[in-house]
């Protein structure tokens, strides 16, 4: 079973994403901002992180930059999942070390397609 950390300041989005990912047999943890997510990754690194862009305390891009700069044995797959859907944001995310990018609104089919892209299902 793969583990997934859902990082989003919206409880509703986290709940929807959780339901979809649990259907694909993922073990789910949640964080409401980038700082909480960094703390979660300190104890156990998930296999994949579903990451929002705009969040309080620490945004998704800053979290990703911190995560990739941190020495770690395991490199988690990071999939941005955000309403920022222009080329500049997408390019910035990929340059910072994201593996895939989902433009909201998402549905089960898109999540599945992206997880297949990164080889997790």
């Amino acid at each position: 079973m793969h583990s997934c950390l859902i990082v989003d300041d919206s409880k509703v989005i986290r709940k929807v994403a959780r339901r979809i990912l649990e259907d694909f047999s993922f073990d789910i943890d949640e964080a409401g901002d980038g700082q909480q997510a960094l703390d979660r990754c300190g104890s156990a690194m998930p296999d994949v992180i579903l990451l929002d862009w705009n969040m309080p305390v620490m945004g998704g891009l800053q979290f990703l930059q911190n995560l990739r700069a941190r020495p770690a044995e395991k490199r988690p797959t990071v999939i941005f999942c955000t309403t920022e859907n222009d080329m500049e944001h997408i390019r910035a995310a990929m340059d910072a070390g994201a593996d895939e990018y989902i433009m909201k609104p998402f549905d089960r089919e898109i999540i599945k397609a992206k997880l297949e892209q990164v080889g997790l299902i």
């Binding site: 080329m87 895939e100 989902i102 089919e109 397609a113 297949e116």
Partner: protein, 334 residues
């Protein structure tokens, strides 16, 4: 073209995104009285089966035409169809089709193509340096464009080659969309990696357009697989995925025989993951080690319009053929 409507309702979010679609008939509802009219039209026009258990999709598929024609229900539209068949038949028959497709669908056939089929054909065609690929029933174009992206990404390896990709479908509206190369946010997120999105698309408003170098390698033509093919065509690879499964056995045999005539003796035909050619071994045999890949049998008399290994062209038997398509090859060089 691709296939008749899926028996499975689309997810709620996507129905909402589609906007005007009315509520679907309950799955348990009896087919409308006019169901046989639509099933017959589908069979005549596209050769595809529209079974009774899919009748609940009729309203959703035909709602736009019903509104346009001022028809209150399916039976009223059937009556209008009877009065003016030449005008309404193509519109209704095309609306009954399912244009479901996406970029790099199923992935494995594309991986297989790159790993084994293309290297073999590249060696076999090293003198003429020309490769012809047909995406039959390509719907809105994602399959032929996926192929075009593959060749663009291997540009150096195919330098100096003429790569001709033909996409055909019987749906005129699907082909119009295919030619535009313009896709929604939802469409570019299915099957397409973000790296490929950045590499091959530009954003136009809320939609994404394929760059010219990808579009210019693909030509689109209307074509009904029920009809005889134009003469003179010979393809090295034919993609015919997820379409044969919707034909009855007799229609399937006819279509396969046609595809066989347009396939080079050492070419391959690629079917969907759930499809087989069991029972048609006289036309095709499974290509070793490649699921969904089939090669023509060695009966050269069936190859009709494709030259054999000595370059001899065998005439077709009993089918009228139009002029072959002409690709503007000079500017298609990779």
């Amino acid at each position: 073209m691709t296939a008749p409507a899926s028996p499975f309702p689309r997810p709620a979010a996507r129905c909402a995104a589609a906007g005007a679609a009315p509520a679907l008939r309950p799955v348990t509802a009896a087919p409308p009285r006019s169901f046989p009219v639509y099933a017959d039209l589908c069979a005549r026009y596209s050769g595809l089966k529209f079974s009774e258990e899919k009748s609940y999709l009729l309203e959703a598929r035909l709602s736009a035409i019903m509104r346009r024609e001022g028809c209150a229900d399916l039976d009223a539209l059937a009556a209008a169809l009877a009065k003016d068949p030449s005008r309404l038949e193509p519109d209704i028959a095309e609306a009954l089709l399912n244009n479901e497709t996406f970029f790099f669908r199923d992935r494995a056939p594309f991986d297989e193509l790159q790993a084994s089929v293309l290297p073999r054909l590249k060696a076999a065609r090293s003198a003429e340096r020309r490769l012809r690929i047909w995406s039959a029933a390509c719907s809105t174009g994602q399959e032929p464009y996926s192929l075009s992206m593959m060749f663009a990404e291997e540009r150096a390896s195919w330098h100096g080659w003429g790569i001709e990709i033909l996409g055909t479908d019987l749906s005129r509206s699907a082909l119009t969309r295919a030619r535009s190369g313009l896709y929604t946010q939802f469409e570019v997120q299915r099957g397409l990696s973000t790296h490929r999105l950045l590499q091959h698309f530009t954003k136009e408003g809320e939609r994404w357009r394929l760059k010219n170098d990808i579009r210019s390698r693909v030509r689109f033509l209307p074509r009904n697989l029920m009809h005889p093919l134009p003469g003179g065509e010979c393809f090295d690879i034919i993609f015919a995925r997820n379409v044969l499964m919707y034909f009855g056995r007799e229609r399937k045999a006819e279509v396969l025989a046609r595809l066989r005539t347009a396939l080079a003796p050492d070419g391959v035909i690629i079917l969907g993951a759930a499809e087989t050619l069991f029972g048609f071994q006289d036309l095709f045999r499974p290509a070793a080690g490649s699921r969904g890949y089939y090669s023509p049998t060695l009966d050269i008399t069936r190859t009709a319009i494709c030259p054999d290994s000595r370059g001899t062209v065998h005439p077709a038997r009993g089918e009228h053929r139009e002029s072959p398509i002409a690709f503007p090859t000079p500017n298609q060089r990779v």
